[in-house]
Subunit: 572 residues, 2 copies
């Protein structure tokens, strides 16, 4: 029994439909160019922090995004011969160890765990069922929270007249370099180009002007789940794709205080989601002026530390002030009969978050999913040798499956005959399933099972002799899922905290960043100094965290008094 | 008490954010032209029947779609003065009676019930929260059914290389006249134009070739919820818009029998949904060759009769045969080691279905929603005169609300102080809420309520003295909601059946169509004869219904033996 449960030493061979590396990359659409990327960097006021790192790579490092993209491509096994003999696993059959090459590991996990695939157009992504199921879990949680906090879902058209984008000055500056434009419709050249939405503030305000008239129409609080398009030069599955899925909330209020309260409320919803569901110990805070959304007065963010210590902006909430309402004339009549512009917010989380989950929890063996986000929480692997054994084992497995399903646990039975149990162990570990249940003939005779935790390798995570009795087993499984959920958050928190360094001078900051760490220190210097840090270290201000140390502080750069500490890091 | 409950005779005044007629119609993007529309009609093989009617109008009637569209516009009240003093209800304040002008009624209902609004780009639509909530209810039902029948959700990119569309001959013929094309990305002209997906068969097959290798990978059964774009010339909210939301299922199988079974299974899922949830007695059947989807071997459809007796194609399921798999080389190795092309299906239901619900059940007073699809199933209207009464009434209302919510009933309390109870009755009737509960001071003292059915006008639908006791009230409400659900289906079925005429000759067919009815008769004539009927009567074959009369039949047109009856009707 023991022997048959040991992971197979045989080469991990992917089932034919299971493993396809990122082999396809079309050259059919326009390719990027360093010049275009450079123009992306011309604006001081970046619409989002994540773009900053791409700019940095091409402007300071002198590496064109094209070659960077190509570099990423080179990691991927060469295209398969096209005679179509089924998927060929790569040479060693397993994902590249994370410790060996983080980026290669990331792409391998996405391919082998069947999370996504490249689309035919450069930079686009097909989200496969296993990856999409994670997105559905994110949607299910957030949808409830959005409705609890008074928001309604709706849907705006994705085609926006080009003139709309130009109405808010910093908005057009931030977005115009990365727009996809429809110029032909129904076989005819259009009179006005249409923007495929990169975000919807403009069209939302256009409609709000028609729906908002008096203070009684406020607050107006809506959300939409939609696809958005940004012509990104340097793409990476989930993290930065030409088209992605997201939710975008948009609200209008009668006072600046209400708008500020709403923006803070929604970053809090995101923070709770990250901690409680995704087990990601994000740091919530405020963006610097430079990193504020194009058109916002203030941007709040949640920043997550990935397994390579780089930061990921995982969600944002913007206090838009009256910037868009003034540009679009979104006004209401207040209780005194006076016309006023509304105060607005917008906030979003996207499929990028899935990339964050992969890069926070994954390990050398592949994906590791927190139980609350996992499409499959428990995989049951039946083990048998003889036909007689098979009957008894499958019977037990079926009743266990039923008991777990009845208890609301997401369970999958892998009873395929083509693979060894060892192969299955490796496969489902690679897919990140939190808990495995093994059932062999001896277990059946003893009415017990063996459980094995994804987050504890080998024997360490195994428990033997767990009763098959439904109430006992369900309680054990629920307890272990809770344990794993808590353990992943604990582990990520420890990792995060051990990689944040408190700094008091620019020299210390540079040293911390050079080591790949996050640097936290008092900051009250100028935008120019902030850009200098970016140029010289590759790090940007991720946020001024809400959680601030007490006491007087001196700016690490200027030596002047500083009200707050900022966190600097390299980022995705 | 009685008096205070009578609907207010005062003018129905819309609350400020509630009623906005379809005043906005942008001229910012390309306008339609009769020439372009004409080219739409050049193909015998239409990709979908619904397009046929548009072609007919412009080719046989000699009316350009532009003027038709304008004509539709003229129905709408003129644009509001822009001083922004809040929404102005139109002159008489209520929706145009359905009996007076069906199209005007339809547009009024959409505007006043806040289901949707025009987007800034011609032919686009903003789906407002009340309309979107209907879509969410459709999604919730179908998502469960799709998963039960073995399908997984996923997401494909919406940008498709233009060359893909050209690969399947009839597909490109059907779709190329109505494509939106992205030609500029990131500020640069693209080397290959990108199609904004009108449907995803091509990109799905492109990806399937990478995922399907052996018979073990089959069947592959997926679905996506997405937006799609078709450059329609003549648009109508929900029914035909430039961008709409839908689900599209795509499957690949190892045998033609399995594909056929799947296509039939999914039209059956749609049929059950229409009957059981939307209370629409659709007629399922097979499309004629002319009306078959561009690229399909066989198209199944559900055809619904609207309140003006026109047909609406409400959902389709296609057996694609090997048309796409041959065009894209989607092959698998069968159990004998032979390479074969897969057999495929695709099937879709869209936001058009919401238009079908409006036009099936609505009446002169506005929208009427089947309880199973209604965002609000029960509205509670509290009635009081004095402050003392108010306290008692609102206390009772609050506990009633809680009891209904706990029982899973979707309930809304309208306790606003600005409107009379009569105004609220009219308003929520116009919004189609199935059941109203009225609670006044006398009810409170007697611990009873009054209920009023949306589907039975005035006193006819009222029941007095229903106990407030939660178990009694919940049971009463559930019973009435069931009654209303059944009654709407019954009413629509009776209406449908009284408007279908059995015909045995072309003369009879013409007479039936001229009366606005559906004509059902034996048909085995040629495609040319079918087109002649369309030219001469405006009617198309909606389907060869699955439900066929027994006995020998003679084609109404050719006099030859006919295996089946067909249903002819004018359609949306």
């Amino acid at each position: 029994m023991g022997a048959i449960r040991l992971p197979s030493l045989a080469v991990l061979r992917s089932p034919s439909a299971a493993a396809r590396p990122w082999t396809y990359f079309s050259s059919s659409s326009s390719s990027s160019s360093a010049a275009t990327v450079h123009s992306l960097c011309s604006s001081l006021r970046r619409r989002s922090a994540r773009r900053a790192s791409a700019c940095l790579s091409s402007s300071s490092g002198g590496v064109s995004t094209q070659s960077l993209a190509k570099d990423e491509q080179q990691r991927v096994p060469p295209p398969q011969p096209s005679e179509g003999k089924g998927a060929q696993p790569n040479q060693d059959g397993a994902v590249t160890p994370r410790s060996l090459d983080f980026n290669a590991w990331y792409l391998d996990v996405i391919a082998y765990a069947e999370l996504a695939d490249y689309g035919p157009v450069r930079g686009t992504m097909v989200i496969r069922p296993y990856g999409y199921a994670i997105w559905e879990n994110i949607q299910d949680y957030l949808n409830v929270k959005f409705k609890e906090t008074g928001h309604s879902n709706m849907y705006f058209p994705q085609f926006i007249p080009y003139s709309f984008i130009e109405k808010e000055a910093s908005h057009v500056e931030g977005f115009s370099p990365e727009l996809a434009l429809v110029t032909i419709g129904g076989g005819k050249e259009l009179e006005e180009k249409l923007v495929v939405r990169p975000t919807s503030e403009t069209i939302v305000n256009h409609m709000f002007t028609q729906w908002i008239h008096s203070y009684r129409d406020l607050p107006l609080m809506i959300n939409q789940w939609a696809n958005v398009t940004r012509w990104e030069m340097r793409t990476k599955p989930f993290i930065r794709t030409l088209e992605f899925l997201w939710q975008e909330g948009h609200t209008a209020h009668g006072t600046p205080e209400e708008a500020e309260k709403e923006a803070l409320q929604m970053i809090d919803v995101y923070t709770k989601f990250a901690y409680e569901v995704a087990a990601i110990p994000v740091i919530p805070g405020r963006k610097s002026t430079i990193e504020t959304f194009a058109g916002a007065s203030r941007t709040y963010t949640i920043e997550a530390m990935m397994g390579d210590q780089k930061a990921l902006q995982a969600g944002t909430s913007h206090n838009l002030g009256q910037n868009f309402s003034r540009a679009f004339g979104t006004q209401f009549t207040d209780e005194n009969g006076q016309r006023q512009h509304v105060w607005q917010t917008s906030w979003a989380i996207s499929t990028r978050f899935i990339g964050g989950i992969i890069m926070t929890h994954g390990d050398d063996a592949g994906l590791m999913l927190p139980p609350k986000i996992a499409p499959v929480q428990v995989v049951i692997v039946p083990i048998w040798k003889t036909a007689d054994e098979k009957v008894g084992v499958l019977e037990s497995v079926s009743s266990i499956e039923k008991a777990l399903k009845t208890a609301g646990i997401k369970v999958k039975v892998d009873d395929s005959e083509q693979r060894t149990p060892g192969w299955k162990y490796n496969f489902w570990e690679m897919k990140g399933v939190p808990l495995r249940i093994e059932v062999g003939p001896r277990d059946v005779s003893k009415r017990t099972v063996v459980t094995s935790r994804r987050d504890a390798p080998g024997k360490q995570g195994k428990e033997f002799g767990i009763s098959m009795e439904p109430s006992v087993l369900v309680s054990h499984v629920n307890q272990r899922l809770d344990d794993i959920q808590a353990s992943l958050l604990q582990r990520a928190t420890t990792f995060r905290d051990s990689n944040i360094v408190d700094v008091t001078s620019y020299e210390e900051l540079k040293a911390a960043i050079a080591e790949g760490k996050w640097a936290r220190g008092p900051w009250s210097a100028s935008d120019e100094e902030e850009l200098r840090v970016k140029e010289e270290t590759g790090a940007t201000i991720r946020c001024f965290p809400f959680d601030q140390p007490e006491g007087e502080k001196t700016c690490l750069m200027s030596g002047q008094p500083a009200a707050e500490v900022a966190i600097f890091a390299r980022s995705y």
